[in-house]
Amino acid sequence: MGIIQASKLVFEYIRRDEEGNAEGITRAVDEVDLDVKQGEFVAILGHNGSGKSTLAKHINAILYPTEGTVLVDGKDTRDEAHIWEIRQKAGMVFQNPDNQIIGQVVEEDVGFGPENMGVPTKEIWERVEESLKAVGMYEFRKHSPNKLSGGQKQRVSIAGVIAMHPKCIILDEPTAMLDPNGRKEVIRAVRALNQVEHVTILLITHYMEEVIYADRVIVMDQGRVVMQGIPREIFSRVEKLKELRLDVPQVTMLAHELKKKGISLPDGILTTQELAQALMQ
């Protein structure tokens, strides 16, 4: 059984005008079925307003389904008795690093989660150490978070989630505010967690290059899942993605354009190395 299972998930909210009168109902998530296996790396793409963040917020019980169900590790998110357990199992990392850090010292910030869970002090320190090592931030443990770069702060946020020993981490555009190096650092840390620690990853992003390592890509539009497959399949459909206001990695786009000019190349080239090899054959 999957770690995250959503079936026929619907989320609706009431739109209100200035005076607070109901104007109508918006369906942000529309009958989504999702089954994520333990250890899987799933990327979610979709334009602004396609419903991806709303979907993500259901997984750690920030939002509850209007219809349908969401199970996290077999527990129904609507069951209030399980809410803390669910939030500990499915940790969330948001876009803005400055909104997620509360501690005055890096290691204190990372220890906040496990401390709140009632983990014994000695074990908290063990968890802080292993979490900071997992994201490559251990040498900064005594630093003030204010002095860190965006990418470093985001990795501290991720460490704070890991310290709660989640089975799954949901990252909602974790690199949107970062410089190129920061983006690389965060994605590298996420991949390492997935491959070494087998943490399930759900990555929401607008950067196409970040999803080429995912096991599976889900594309959302108007609250529905409209495409699903391995990155190579998804990125083979350049025109379809453009229609959905998305893009493909620059190397994929270059291969696509060269192919249109009559160069024989396979579909869905994802890396520079692949393109180089295919062109030199």
Binding site: R15, E18, G46, H47, N48, G49, Q95, S149, G150, G151, E173, A176, M177, L178, D179, P180, N181, G182, R183, H206, M208, E209, K242, R245, L246, D247, P249, Q250, V251, M253, L254, E257, L258, K261, G262, I263, T272, Q273, L275, A276, Q277, L279, M280
Partner: protein, 285 residues
């Protein structure tokens, strides 16, 4: 109509133990009509620099001249300066506040003391320039999508009719199509009006595609200041300061290493495509 930065330094919390250099001896000229890309890692001084351009921050050393006058000398009209050098902050949609889109865009020109008619004409023109659909003029700005909100926020600055438009990461958080739409609009606006644009961005691909000059900041100093091709040729140095070259530059490097005789200085997709076709002997077809 140029902005000149003459040995500008800025120290935060000067004369305290926390004193830290944010800008160190920066000399730059921003002439009319250029499309400039400003890049640098987080904390490199980009935002501090742009806040000096319209006098929001005063240098702790050096001088800033706008049209030949020191902007911090007595009697200099800062209000006028701020309408001439329009600054669009990161996530500008957080600063929308009026009941409808049109009123929000009117706020700037109204504050300049313009007549109602002139204010409205400017708001209308600015919303047209950012490609905002007329049907939504009287909607609450809070009901719009992320991309549309951002257009409204940019229109609010354009309605002041600035000579220089400074945009601090105008595409952060937007989907790929939204990014292209905003940047295409800004490029078209520059063609149409000859406005000077300073674009702060973390996307090397966007920078390579649109600008004619790149200023690279590192630790509060200018590291490079040149045309894109020349700046991205230093991709190793860029990497060492937290930046990178556009993806295509790396693709060309890899192709060359594999033995395809391509020039490696392409910075946009179109250039890369032309160069690969040429190297494969397929350009004539």
């Amino acid at each position: 109509m140029a902005i000149i930065l003459d040995h500008v330094s800025h120290i935060y919390e000067k004369d305290t133990e926390m004193a830290a250099f944010a800008l160190k001896d920066v000399c730059l000229t921003i002439p009319d009509g250029q499309f400039i890309g400003l890049i640098g890692h987080t904390g490199s001084g980009k935002s501090t620099l742009v806040q000096h351009l319209n006098g929001l921050l005063a240098p702790t050393g050096g001088h800033i001249y706008f049209n030949g006058r020191d902007i911090h000398e007595d009697g200099f009209d800062k209000k006028e300066l701020r309408s001439k050098v329009g600054l669009v902050f990161q996530y500008p949609e957080h600063q929308l506040f009026e009941v409808d889109v049109f009123t929000d865009v009117c706020f700037g020109p109204k504050n300049l003391g313009l007549s109602v008619k002139e204010t409205q004409l400017r708001a209308f023109e600015a919303l047209r320039q950012v490609g905002f659909p007329e049907d939504y003029f009287y909607q609450s700005p809070f009901d719009l999508s992320g991309g549309q909100k951002r257009r409204v926020a940019i229109a609010g600055v354009l309605a002041m009719k600035p000579d220089v438009l400074v945009l601090d990461e105008p595409t952060a958080g937007l989907d790929p199509k939204g990014r292209d739409e905003i940047l295409d609009r800004i490029a078209a606006l520059k063609e149409e009006t000859g406005i000077t644009v300073v674009l702060v961005s973390h996307s090397m691909e966007d920078i390579a595609r649109y600008v004619d000059r790149i200023i690279v900041m590192n630790r509060g100093s200018v590291l490079f200041d040149d045309i894109p091709k020349a700046v991205f040729a230093h991709y190793r140095e860029l990497e060492s300061v937290g930046l990178a070259a556009p993806q295509v530059t790396y693709i060309m490097q890899a192709l060359r290493e594999k033995g395809l005789a391509v020039r490696t200085d392409a910075t946009t997709l179109e250039e890369a495509q032309r160069e690969i076709l040429r190297a494969l002997g397929r350009d004539g077809k």
